[in-house]
Amino acid sequence: MNDIVPASGSFLEYAPAPESTSILHLKKSYGLFIDGAWVAGHGKPFASISPATEKHIAEIATANAKDVDTAVVAARRAYDRTWSKLSGADRGKYLFRIARLVQERARELAVAESLDNGKPIKESRDVDVPLVAAWFFYYAGWADKLDHVGLGANPRALGVAAQIIPWNFPLLMLAWKIAPALAAGNTVVLKPAETTSLTALLFAEIVQQAELPNGVVNLVTGAGETGAALVRHPDVNKVAFTGSTAVGREIAKAVAGTGKKVTLELGGKAANIVFDDAPIDQAVEGIVNGIFFNQGHVCCAGSRLLVQESIHDEVVDRLKARLATLRLGDPLDKNTDIGAINSREQLERIRELSDIGEAEGAERWTAPCVIPENGFWFAPTIFDNVSTSSRIAREEIFGPVLSVLTFRTPAEAIAKANNTPYGLSAGIWSDKGSKILAVADKLRAGVIWANTFNRFDPASPFGGYKESGYGREGGRQGLAAYLKAAGSASSSAKAPTSVRSSSRKPTQVRTLATGAGK
């Protein structure tokens, strides 16, 4: 009776609808953006490729320890001489300008993001880029209202912020980091992930267009060593990192005792709990959105489906029918639902963990879709009959792979949901408000969605418990992470601005960005 398989052989399939890349005017090679200008990097340059076609996009510079130092020095100078002297209202004006420029160049940014990251244009166009603009608008409004952040009157900026972001939402994570930092009065040195530098480099153009004072925003590209040099630079006052828990742990060690403030936003293994009184059709949509949004490359993805045993079969049947309608393919096609996996390395990891899942006895089901010849792809996959001890139920896969577990009572649901070293997010599906509140109260997760999933808003703080990191981004709380109260001691990290770092061993932290899952 389940022969309803919509959209295969559909009239929707008659013609692809690719977004044109002619709007992009990319350079052949990109340098580093330091002190308002493009400069050459002293490391070995690397290529950025499109994960959907494996075609070369551009050559990207690598910043070595010396380049990182130049960038930090520029940021310190800009902080001392200009940015810290501006009024909040004036800082806000710059941020509003950036927000408007992001909107003006929205289509271009969306195309660049999908090309470089592999995510469907539908998502970069309708989610990532609009949220980037929203983040800058939101924090632009805060710049002259810092007295109300909750730290008392006249809170002070920290100084120079070192920011390292992952490859899953390249431009959006940049906005999450840069917008509050600048609104609070800091200057920044940001390192995008190695595989997704492109939109950050386009953002540098926007910074120029907005005529932001030189050195307020600096971008250093490169792999883990560049990130390590940045984190360890003695003249950095604040480190903000989004990525994998393993790297986060290294960073926490590296900054321990230095007086640098740290926020870490790390991995997750979120439970998406579906009760038997849930709005079923919307819950199925929410499960899909929870784990297959952005190919599952989401730190807060609902990768563990906890479904009440009495409706397990119904939910799984509906889920499979729905997944059969998902369209995998060219990220630049407007009808694509599932794009490419960001890198070969990540694809290998997803494959490896999926094979482990199968070997451990879980029931594997893969959506019927044609996999393109070139590029990195992984079809939406469900593992049914997964036990809590299974590795695929414990480790972050960071791909389009859903583990289905069941529960019998709310108490069991809560216990299973919390039984993870992570604690970033969770979802609850029920039509009963009192149940939602009672369960949410007992879940140990930083973000809990009720009857929805993967919704983001600049006004809402985001961050984790336990191994998912510490600190909050977004909202008033996100601003506090870049401020200190007026009376507090000045930062011990305020070291001379000389090139002390060049004499340091540049790297003990090896892989700061490659494979770093948010």
Binding site: A278, P279, I280
Partner: protein, 325 residues
Amino acid sequence: MLGGDLTERSLRLHLEGLSGVDAVGLEQRAAGLGTRSIKTTSKAWALDKIIELIDLTTLEGADTPGKVRSLVAKALTPDPSDLTAPRVAAVCVYGDMVPDAIAALGAAHGDPANGNGRSGLVSVAAVATAFPSGRASLRVKLADTADAVANGADEIDMVIDRGAFLSGRYGEVFEQIVAVKEACRRDDGSYASLKVILETGELNTYDNVRRASWLSILAGGDFIKTSTGKVAPAATLPVTLLMLEVVRDWYRLTGERVGVKPAGGIRTSKDAIKYLVTVAETVGEQWLQPHLFRFGASSLLNDVLLQRQKLTTGRYSGPDYVTID
């Protein structure tokens, strides 16, 4: 289906036991379906498909035989400047206008599923049961229906008793639909197809729409239809998506295919294409045929014809290049 005998109580337990609808999630899904992008060849196919699924409608107090003849002429030859344009599925009129419609259709009167494109047949649908309010005694509603069927109507568009539904008298609504269905019976034992109008604008909540959809299908409706077109809001994409989900679930349970007809408020090709996409991705493309999906519309047809002309000629024309009614 309801486990044994059908009683008011078992019906109520079933309808109230249906899983709830989350409004935000439903509307988000509908909006997502609305962003599907259709190009060139698919668009040409879609435009012709829309025409073939239209119930071309006139439901005015001022309707006359002349107005109905003019409507029928439009149904048969939608675009006099391009004779490749297909015919619509049906004309929809008040019950007393049925003989005029049948006379005007002549040899082209028949089941739209037989023959297609330019040689397509066009059926006659009549609204009945004290349309649009439904505020009359059951006797009057049944007489209204029987009269339209006797006049030769192929399809009956009835309205449910929203008053009874909203006050929780589900059994009464159910019995009325069953009785109207019986009144659709012709002398030869065949039945006119029954479309049950829920008037979703008056039901107000998505939970009510889901219950009314189930109730109408359980009572034997061949189609569930959103609105009369006389109440705002009429058809919306989320409401239609929800009704399609009920139809899909019913098909999974019973193997029976029930039709869906969004009516009122769909005026542009762009909107209509969103409905086609929603049908395709919810129940499948086998539903895109006149026995299972219709658009209740009047002004939609001309917009589709303008878009069609644009595809053929490469230029946009203007409203003077399509005929009024």
